[in-house]
């Protein structure tokens, strides 16, 4: 049966989970004016990549990318799945570390970092241990509980917007293409798409609906960057570490008994992220189980311990930023090669099929 609902929810949640943290900062620092250009470029690339990926996957109904690559041979799997697995694990590490740091900055200043990371990893392991089908279902529950909160907070963040900051609209400056932060901004685009290739045996989905949901998410990319810009102006926003979070902090809602909306916003996003981390971990385990069949039942434990240890070993924020950049490179590789290779493999298998039938 068509389970597009689950896949779409997962897609929306994971992208909403990323886009409000580092993405606005990256976009704002990538250019001085006309920020919509880098955002638009990013969105178009994102759309193209997802389209290619799903087009490629549609040639293999009911198969996930592990099966597709392992059919294509060892070299293909090593070339494409290896970096993907590395990227997934790296991403988990960076995300856990970075978001635990944000937690301590924003509201848990007395709690040690390792304790927060331990909880996050614990929940992540628990989610991952439930397996693919359950993860998508958890997504629905979490969306029902937290998505309304996020949406309310999101719309309340417009409170201090000054629309004059929108100008100048036009720009001839394309120097953002040379800036590192532009490529780092693909964090928000490139993080979530891989799971579409893992959903298949459990959930089949219509790619048209996923594309529609991509289109629905795109305005949020624009607004995530533009709300801080419109509130503070580029000059101020550029100096902030998490511009969107700071914007949120400046919002004051009269009828709410809570003073800090940021916290609820952050926490709801954190729920999305924990879910997404669980999904990523599950994907990593799927890959490692397929290619390292030894110790079948210990993969989850082993990978989690590695992740926890690496997280503990990162001493300070600079290291996180360095890791962030390394992963950005890896991401661009995965972002480009995986969808294209899947499409090519799909076209090849289709060609074979036609030849056979002829």
């Amino acid at each position: 049966m068509n389970k597009s609902m689950h896949v779409i929810t997962m897609y929306i949640l994971s992208h909403l989970g990323f886009m409000f943290f580092v993405y606005p900062d990256n976009v704002i620092s990538s250019t001085e004016e006309g920020h919509w250009v880098p955002i638009l470029v990013g969105c178009i690339v994102h759309l193209l990549v997802i389209w290619t990926y799903m087009k490629g996957l549609s040639y293999f109904p009911g198969k996930n990318i592990i099966e597709i690559y392992s059919k294509a041979g060892r070299i293909a799997s090593l070339l494409f799945l290896g970096p993907a697995a590395l990227y997934i694990v790296g991403m988990i590490i960076v995300m856990i570390r970075a978001f635990s740091e944000i937690m301590t900055i924003v509201f848990l200043s007395n709690t040690p970092l390792w304790a927060i990371m331990a909880v996050k990893i614990g929940i992540m392991i628990y989610i991952a241990s439930k397996g693919g089908e359950a993860i998508f279902r958890i997504g629905i529950l979490i969306a029902l509980l937290f998505l309304p909160v996020v949406m309310i907070m999101f719309f309340s963040s417009f409170q201090n917007v000054d629309w004059r900051y929108l100008f100048p609209l036009l720009t001839k400056d394309f120097s953002f293409l040379t800036r590192r932060s532009f490529y780092e901004s693909f964090f928000a685009f490139g993080g979530g798409f891989l799971f579409l290739g893992f959903a298949q045996p459990h959930f089949s989905y219509s790619s048209k609906r996923v594309l529609i949901s991509v289109l629905c998410v795109i305005p949020f990319f624009f607004l995530a960057a533009y709300v801080p810009l419109l509130t503070f102006g580029h000059a101020t926003a550029n100096t902030l570490h998490y511009p969107y979070i700071v914007t949120m902090d400046s919002v004051h809602v009269n009828w709410l008994m809570f003073d800090r909306l940021t916290m609820f916003f952050l926490l709801s996003l954190d729920a999305f992220l924990m879910l997404f981390l669980g999904l990523m971990l599950w994907m990593a385990i799927c890959i490692s189980k397929r290619y390292l069949p030894l110790f079948k039942s210990y993969h989850l434990g082993a990978i989690s311990i590695i992740i926890f240890c690496v997280c503990l070993m990162i001493p300070e924020w600079e290291v996180v930023e360095k890791l962030f950049w390394w992963i950005a490179v890896l991401r661009i590789y995965v972002f480009l090669t995986v969808p294209i290779s899947i499409l090519l493999l799909g076209l090849r298998s289709k060609g074979k099929g036609i030849r056979k039938s002829a």
């Binding site: 927060i116 929940i123 958890i138």
Partner: protein
């Protein structure tokens, strides 16, 4: 003495309520056997005589009558004993050694159909199941008058026999589910069944699950509604409720009787229950988190007034709330245990003495009492007492995490609870499955 009679007497003769009586039927002596505690001997005898007089033509011998009565072949010792222990009457002809099992006039050992004791109905049929499995199945048939309702009966247990019934609607159900259930039952027929735990062991369910795999209901209307949605209903003899398989999360919120109200009200009521569950889960945790870990989230005025109400309370919020929650759980448990005439005492002691005095003595804060009251009330909005138990349990997970990590702990715990619920499944049907059409299981979501 005849061997059969001898054997029967040695096997059952130690029971003082076992009766062996020689009577004359159609002028020839026969022996009647049965438990006088289970059947009305005098009535049975006179009915039997009347029946024979009316149903058989003149001149028939007792031999033929018994043959007619026992439509099965020869009855062995084991069969005879189990028939007698089930409350039947055995007729034995000494001369021809013929035996017949007869349905007697039994003593009234089951209560009549009453209104439910654990599920109150505001607006709907109020007859509920009782301990007699045949009555229960009959009520189901009365409620769902159709030839599509299928019933399978099993007799389980080796030492103690108990009957188990499986009901489903032929066209609504996924036959794969029925096959799985039936094969589990048939391969475990020798297991003794006393409780739902035994049934779930029979089905091979993981026993450490917090969420029951059966939704239990006392109401025929609910049970039939479940059947209509393509679920299986099990009845175990002597259990006054139906076991609906698989149990779903939405059983907590959805009551079939809601549909006797206008649709917007139905939706509103269901949302209210959903809210009740959320409040139960989150409120105590939120209190602990806001008081002890993240007070800065609150408006300053509110934070101050909370701090004021906690003035003089000698221990941390976590201890405070856990203490009071446990007292509250005990009150709930006590009010179940106590007879109805003493019940109000608990209410009074709990409500007035604990609630008022504990605050006056500055052992807990005013606000906490409010939170506890809200939690308890909210917890009771759930449909079915058995469904509220898991929620009550999860509440503590959230409180513990909230006391360590504040609001972040609450969110983590809620995600954990979501993950737990999403992971539960019964025969491949997820606990979160929503029966959209009138069919469940076909698509094993």
């Amino acid at each position: 003495m005849v061997p059969f009679l001898q054997e029967m007497k040695t096997r059952l003769g130690d029971n003082d309520d076992f009766i062996v009586q020689r009577v004359f039927l159609l002028d020839s002596p026969v022996i009647l056997m049965g438990f006088k505690s289970m059947l009305d001997f005098v009535q049975t005898k006179s009915n039997l005589l009347e029946y024979i007089e009316q149903s058989f033509p003149e001149g028939k011998t007792i031999d033929e009558v018994i043959k007619q009565l026992s439509n099965s072949g020869t009855i062995g010792i084991e069969e005879a004993i189990s028939a007698i222990t089930a409350g039947n009457l055995l007729i034995y002809d000494e001369k021809t050694k013929q035996r017949a099992i007869v349905n007697p006039v039994s003593r009234l050992l089951t209560r009549s159909i009453e209104s439910p004791t654990t599920e109150n109905i505001l607006h709907g049929g109020i007859s509920s199941f009782n301990e007699d499995i045949d009555t229960n199945i009959g009520m189901m048939r009365k409620q769902f008058n159709s030839s599509h309702l299928e019933t399978k009966l099993y007799s389980c247990g080796s030492m103690q026999k108990s009957r188990l019934a499986v009901l489903y609607i032929k066209d609504q159900i996924d036959m794969k589910l029925v096959k799985q259930v039936v094969s589990k039952i048939e391969s475990n027929l020798d297991k003794e069944l006393n409780h739902t735990q035994d049934v779930s062991k029979m089905m091979g369910f993981y026993s450490k699950e917090l969420i029951p795999k059966f939704n239990t209901t006392e109401l025929p209307q609910e049970a039939v509604n479940a059947l209509r949605k393509g679920r299986i209903v099990l009845f175990l003899d002597r259990l006054p409720f139906a076991l609906v398989l698989p149990s779903l999360l939405w059983d907590m919120f959805i009551h079939d009787n809601d549909k006797n109200l206008p649709p917007p009200i139905t939706v509103a009521l269901r949302m209210l229950r959903l809210l009740g569950v959320l409040v139960t889960l989150i409120m105590p945790g939120l209190y602990v988190a806001l008081v002890s870990v993240n007070p800065e989230v609150l408006r300053i005025e509110l934070a101050l007034s909370i701090a004021q109400s906690r003035e003089g309370v000698p221990y941390p919020a976590f201890i405070e709330i856990v203490l009071m929650l446990i007292v509250l759980e005990m009150t709930l448990e006590a009010s179940v245990r106590l007879p109805a005439s003493i019940g109000p005492t608990v209410t009074m002691v709990g409500g007035i003495i604990l609630g008022q005095a504990v605050v006056t003595a500055q052992l807990v804060s005013n606000l906490l009492i409010i939170i506890l009251a809200v939690t308890t009330i909210a917890n009771s909005t759930v449909v079915g007492v058995q469904n509220s138990l898991a929620i009550r349990f999860f509440k503590y997970v959230i409180v513990v995490l909230a006391s360590i990590f504040g609001v972040f702990g609450i969110v983590s715990a809620v995600v954990f609870v979501c993950a737990y619920l999403a992971g539960v499944n019964t025969f491949g049907i997820s606990y979160l499955y929503i029966p959209r059409t009138e069919k469940v299981g076909g698509n094993h979501e």
